[in-house]
């Protein structure tokens, strides 16, 4: 990167979770049998006509407002013409020169503080179907077409070329997902394709204001892949330039396995989409009243919630940021804090143990086997001395695996903390007697020795001894 600066812009497609498709009443739900969610309209049979789903516009406005955009009073649909077997009409109904909304932004955290990334436009369009190849697209003897996704509503959100590093691009994409997900209009699941990211990237000499020749990268299937693909592509472009070569404007595809971007099609091979106004749909006139009505129903968004967590709960910025990545995570945290009002402790558990087990088992937080009430109860058991903090982690894992209440786990496994001073005292005496050399070390001022002795006591009690009491009794006995 030495001497160069990257310029990155992202085009993100978000699938809206409306009940029906954008121009017909077929179900828009993911995961049905192939070609189950179709009708003459989304199949583009001769003679059918599109009718705009009002909910799609409402969701689009909701996203636009959450992204600080200006919603157009007058907008229209256009046809984007290209041939592909997954596109039944061989044109896609999209929006070209008068999109739903423009001129927005969102803010990301960078190493140098907050940075505002511009959002050029938000527009509505219909999704295409899916080709099912037998093997790869180049070797398949034939392909099957599934039109379930055809006509599922999409928002395309185009950023300004405001990002300067793969990390910023990733932060933008993740922030955008959070915001959209908070508004409740999309699941934003990259693995199911309900959030798709294409990246435009170019490099230029550091300090220069002009733009280099850009390439577009497709087929990035995770945020990690986005950052990796951009890192690779930036390095590639720099080495081409360093070797005296020129960047070719082209579309490239990310090969996740090989970790490289590969040419897909050049500018010359690019489609001429022959956009023109969709004659089957009248222009869309959006009243200010409707926009304001939708604005009033906007939920609290990630940035506002993060601020609130810092102010109201005294959480560090890092915790507040992580907990507001998804609406569900914040909701879980708040539900737990309501029952156990020590926010930092709850935050540690949610970001630590809970997040670890959810990730390991690929579970959504809404489907967590440990409910917020159960976590709160567990934390109270630590506070009242029933179990130690260390044992609590064991209990939590058991709760996560079985869905049982903490008390039940503690009782079944006999994990109740020993806070009986006499019982601990006996173990302490035994440990002191068995370790004369360590005791001698301690008396010579080696503090570490105390830790070893504590560990021995805990081991003897299978971790159940109250650690404070062990410490206290050991010190008394040794003095």
């Amino acid at each position: 990167m030495k001497g160069y600066e990257a310029v990155i812009g992202l085009e993100i497609h978000v699938e809206l979770k409306t009940a029906s498709k954008i121009f017909c009443s077929s179900s828009a739900h993911f995961g049905a049998e192939p070609n189950a969610n179709v009708c003459p309209v989304c199949l583009g049979l001769p003679g059918v006509l599109p009718v705009l789903n009002k909910r799609v516009v409402e969701y689009g406005i909701r996203a636009a407002l959450a992204l600080n955009c200006e919603v157009a009073r007058f907008s229209k649909f256009d046809r984007k013409n290209y041939y592909y077997p997954d596109l039944p009409k061989n044109y896609q109904i999209s929006q070209y020169d008068l999109p739903l909304a423009q001129h927005g932004y969102l803010e990301i955290d960078t190493g140098n503080g907050r940075k505002r990334i511009g959002i050029t436009r938000v527009h509505m369009e219909e999704d295409a179907g899916k080709l099912v190849h037998q093997g790869t697209v180049t070797t398949t003897p034939y392909s099957l077409v599934d039109y379930n996704r055809t006509g599922v509503p999409l928002l395309e959100i185009v950023s300004e070329p405001d990002m300067r590093s793969p990390e910023e691009a990733r932060a933008y994409a993740e922030k955008l997902r959070s915001i959209i997900q908070f508004t409740g209009i999309s699941d934003c699941k990259m693995e199911e394709g309900s959030l798709r990211v294409d990246a435009n990237v170019s490099v230029r000499p550091a300090g220069s204001q002009g733009f280099g020749v850009k390439t577009e990268i497709k087929n990035v299937n995770s945020f990690r892949a986005l950052a990796r693909a951009l890192t690779y592509e930036i390095e590639r472009q720099i080495s081409v330039l360093e070797e005296g070569g020129r960047i070719v404007q082209e579309t490239r595809t990310w090969d996740e396995g090989k970790g490289v971007t590969l040419p897909l099609r050049s500018k010359e091979e690019a489609h001429d989409y022959r956009y023109f106004p969709e004659p089957d749909l009248p222009p869309l006139v959006i009243s200010r009243e409707w926009v304001e009505e939708i604005r009033r129903t906007l939920p609290e968004l990630p940035d506002a919630r993060r601020e609130r967590y810092m102010k109201e709960y005294g959480l560090p910025a890092y915790d507040a940021g992580v907990l507001t990545t998804t609406r569900e995570m914040g909701d879980y945290f708040e539900a737990c804090v309501r029952l156990y009002p020590r926010p930092k402790t709850v935050s540690n558990w949610v970001m630590g143990e809970l997040a670890r087990l959810l990730n390991a088992t690929n579970t959504e937080i809404t489907a967590s086997p440990v409910k917020p009430e159960q976590l709160a109860t567990l934390l109270k058991l630590i506070d009242d001395g029933t179990i130690s903090g260390k044992i609590a982690k064991t209990v939590f894992e058991e709760m996560f695996n079985t869905g049982k209440d903490p008390q039940a786990v503690v009782e079944e496994q006999g994990l109740v903390q020993i806070s009986d001073a006499a019982a601990i005292k006996a173990v302490v005496e035994k440990v002191i007697a068995a370790n004369p050399k360590v005791v001698a070390d301690f008396k010579q001022g080696k503090d570490k020795a105390l830790g070893f002795l504590v560990g021995q006591v805990m081991k003897e009690t299978r971790g159940k001894a109250n650690p404070q009491l062990v410490n206290q009794l050991l010190k008394e006995s040794l003095e």
């Binding site: 003459p40 199949l43 583009g44 049979l45 001769p46 003679g47 059918v48 006509l49 599109p50 009718v51 705009l52 046809r79 013409n81 041939y83 077997p85 039944p88 009409k89 061989n90 044109y91 077409v145 001429d272 022959r274 956009y275 023109f276 004659p279 089957d280 749909l281 009248p282």
Partner: protein, 484 residues
């Protein structure tokens, strides 16, 4: 009495008075089809069995004393670009051979509620692109008044079917004159409704911003009755107008005194056959005799109608017809890969005129040409619309010939597309402006019928019917039938 040549309103009365049964009427129409269809070739497909079943059901309902809608039991032919559930719909194109729609067009749904009897699907220029029905992918239709002549187009099959007594009523579609010009050539009444009055759902699109379905009938009253049945808002067509539809038969009064009618000088200049001019002059005399004020006026931009139309319509068509690619339905010419399959299917499936327009439209929309062609055409369209707005401040209606000539000979213009396009010179502007127009028989040129066109402001179909009806009473031409 020859049932096949009675108007629907008269047949409806006979049915209700049980002087005729629906089965008799349908049987008479099919006898007529048996007698003349081999010469006229109005149909691509007939539905005799289904039609007789529908007729029997109507008779049963009448026998049971049910009150039936005005068009119950009336045989009606459907242009083959309108979808009828379960019946092959090809738009007279080889590329759609075998396509059977799993749905009814909205107009068909409404006519089923009326308990109309569907006789069959009529021939047309492929995808409604043409003015003579010679562009049918299957065979041309002949004009019942002279079998060596064209019936006009693109709704030539529907107009010929009504004229030949092979149907009582017919549906056509009009994108640039495709109802009115064949109505003129075949001596019947044809209406292009205001854009948005009749649902386009189930009409296979040619040029979406211009297409309208409309009636082709034996007389003006039938035209009003059929429009009553098919007009009105449809939530499945976003371009359909959300407004109340009157009973159009209430406008059928023979009083037109004080009506102001303008004749645009652009429509009576060069290029009009003398016999057509003579018919127009005679019509003006008749109207003036009824107390109508007829004056010359001007629509300064209509002379750009043809170039504007031949950019807008092909542009939309190039996109609308993109779906015929062999992937899902209709013709597929197999090939080693999908792109080759597309090319072979479309090369073999489409006829020359369709290919010409798809190429024109693709070109007009291409990067670098859009502003010069398509966008410019849209601007011209706006100017034409304003011309009509201005004219209707001074006139109730506008009058013109429907077509510059009577029916021409089969083969006469096939080698010269531009000459063929000029056949619609008086009808194109109406579609560009979105206004309604009716073609009604005005007289004869020898043995060939000649129609005149009344154009009205948006949603003034009632006024069109009123004047057309009054004229029809004067000319008595509704009773004329070809000696076939």
């Amino acid at each position: 009495m020859d049932l096949c040549f009675q108007p629907a309103h008269e047949l409806g009365r006979l049915l209700r008075e049980k002087k005729v049964s629906a089965v008799e009427l349908t049987g008479a129409v099919y006898s007529r089809i048996d007698a003349v269809e081999s010469r006229v070739k109005a149909y691509l497909l007939t539905l005799k069995e289904e039609a007789l079943n529908q007729a029997r059901a109507v008779d049963a309902a009448l026998a049971a004393g049910e009150e039936l809608p005005p068009l119950a039991g009336i045989p009606l032919a459907v242009k083959d670009n309108i979808c009828l559930h379960g019946v092959e719909t090809t738009c007279a194109s080889k590329i759609l051979k075998g396509f059977i729609p799993p749905y009814d067009a909205t107009v068909i749904e409404r006519l089923k509620e009326q308990r109309v009897v569907f006789t069959g699907k009529t021939n047309m220029d492929e995808f409604a692109m043409g003015s003579s029905t010679e562009n049918s992918g299957f065979y041309p239709t002949a004009n019942p008044w002279n079998l060596e002549r064209v019936p006009g187009g693109s709704s030539g099959g529907s107009a010929a079917a009504v004229a030949a007594g092979e149907a009582v009523l017919a549906l056509g579609s009009d994108t640039g004159g495709s109802i009115r010009q064949p109505a003129s050539f075949c001596g019947v009444v044809g209406l292009k409704p205001t854009y948005g009055l009749v649902s386009r759902y189930g009409l296979v699109a040619f040029a979406s911003s211009l297409d309208q379905i409309g009636p082709i009938t034996r007389d003006v009253r039938d035209c009003a009755l059929l429009l009553n049945a098919i007009a009105g808002h449809d939530p499945r067509d976003s371009t359909s107008a959300p407004q109340e539809v009157p009973d159009y038969t209430e406008f059928l009064v023979p009083h037109v005194k004080g009506f102001r009618i303008g004749i645009p000088r652009e429509y009576v200049g060069e290029g009009i056959a003398p016999e057509v001019r003579a018919v127009l002059n005679r019509v003006v005399e008749l109207l003036e005799g009824m107390g109508v004020q007829v004056e010359e006026t001007s629509l300064p931009h209509v002379r750009y109608s043809l170039p504007a139309y031949y950019l807008i319509a092909p542009a939309e068509a190039s996109s609308n017809l993109a779906r015929y690619d062999g992937v899902r339905y209709g013709l597929r010419v197999p090939a080693e890969d999908v792109v080759t399959m597309y090319k072979k299917t479309r090369s073999q499936g489409f006829g020359a005129e369709v290919k010409r327009r798809v190429m024109l439209g693709t070109y007009a929309l291409s990067a670098g040409y859009y502003d010069a062609y398509y966008l410019k055409a849209l601007k011209v369209r706006t100017l034409i619309r304003r011309d009509f707005d201005e004219a209707f401040k001074r006139f109730d209606l506008i009058l013109s010939p429907t077509a510059p000539t009577p029916a021409f000979k089969i083969g006469e213009k096939v080698a010269d597309p531009l000459a063929m396009y000029l056949s619609d010179i008086f009808t194109l502007a109406v579609n560009l402006a979105g206004v309604p127009a009716i073609s009604v028989p005005g007289g004869f040129a020898g043995h060939l019928p000649v129609g005149v066109q009344f154009i009205g402001p948006p949603f003034a179909e009632g006024q069109l019917f009123r004047v057309a009806y009054a004229l029809e009473q004067e000319t008595g031409l509704a009773a004329k039938r070809p000696a076939l």
